[in-house]
Symmetry: C2
Subunit: 171 residues, 2 copies
DNA sequence: CACCGTAATGTTATACTATAACATTAGATC
DNA sequence: GATCTAATGTTATAGTATAACATTACGGTG
């Protein structure tokens, strides 16, 4: 029985936490999910997912590409985009539209879902929420509008708790 | 006292409506808003806003650029992006992050606001909602997370009422 | 194991989106 | 009209993403 990933109740990871466990856990769960669907969790895909999980901030495709330079043959853009496509298709990462960037899914135990993201403009840390009331409000709006909802993008930007209090002290 | 813009209760414009009025109204209101702030609603800016309002679907910057080719001198990208920057800054248009595209604000009477968009994947028509419950749910989530909310992106994709019923008949 | 078919990755070129930096023109102010 | 600033023009380039085709790795079959 794995412990839940390090995080405060607010969804943001504590400033100092055992991040290696976050990564290990994500890779482990990913492996399990892919196995269940007999999807190939190849070395490349694992490596890309690991790079994305290297931080709790969204990372751009070309940053991922740069991080892959350790490989003997430095891959080209399509390689990264294909890996991202796979990871997104299996719900292992989410795309942050407002940043053209990608982040690891923090709710792998929840079947295919659209993320709700709280993104700190100061430190970049991004928390993935899964707020029932918010989901319900969106559903209601769609219904009220006679709209058949298929995909959703909810990205909130501002200051995370840590940066907020830092700022207050600075001021 | 101007009549409200053509729209069903669901926020989507009726299939056939006097769209010239939509455009005229938007330009008129924009003019008033700019005047109040002594911001220059120049010919270029007016033309760009007109192009954007040409439809109820988001339009890309380079499409706008192409539509500007009527000008004696075909402008370059920065020209369009600067006009867009101005229009966004004054709340006259919104950027749709998930499409890299821009759409006219449908709630000019509401002071600076973040839009909530319902986008039809079939016809492209996009409705701007202003749902109180949804806004409240987002506020609550932010508070609960100790997050200082500054900007938000809410983009919902699916089928609009018209396309939904078309689909049903087709199937 | 040799064979086959498919999925994954490599490779090259290019499309699409956006901005930096500097030159020129148009408008407001005095 | 001189002066200052805001707006637009112009050129070049950065950043993001995909098309198209070649090659390699993999899973199953006989
Ligand atoms: Zn961590
Ligand atoms: Zn997720
Ligand atoms: Zn209209
Ligand atoms: Zn609006």
């Amino acid at each position: 029985m794995a412990k839940p990933p390090a995080s405060n109740q607010n969804g943001f990871p504590p400033a100092r936490h055992d991040h290696a466990r976050c990564v290990a856990r994500a890779l482990e769960q990913a492996e399990g999910i892919c196995a269940k669907r007999s999807a190939q969790f190849t070395g490349l895909r694992r490596q890309v997912l690991g790079i994305i999980w290297n931080s709790h901030s969204p990372i751009g495709a070309y940053e991922i590409l740069a991080a892959l330079s350790s490989r003997e043959r430095r891959p080209a853009p399509p390689t990264v985009y294909r890996a991202l496509e796979f990871l997104q298709a299996h719900g292992l990462v989410h795309r942050i539209e407002s940043k053209n960037a990608y982040i690891g899914c923090a709710h792998l135990e929840t079947a295919q879902h659209a993320g709700q993201f709280l993104m700190c403009r100061a430190c970049g840390q991004t928390a993935e929420a899964c707020d029932k009331d918010l989901s319900r409000a969106i559903q209601k709006l769609a219904e009220k509008s006679g709209f058949s909802l298929e995909e959703q993008t909810v990205e909130l930007s501002g200051l995370c708790p840590a940066c907020k209090s830092k700022n207050r002290h600075a001021a």
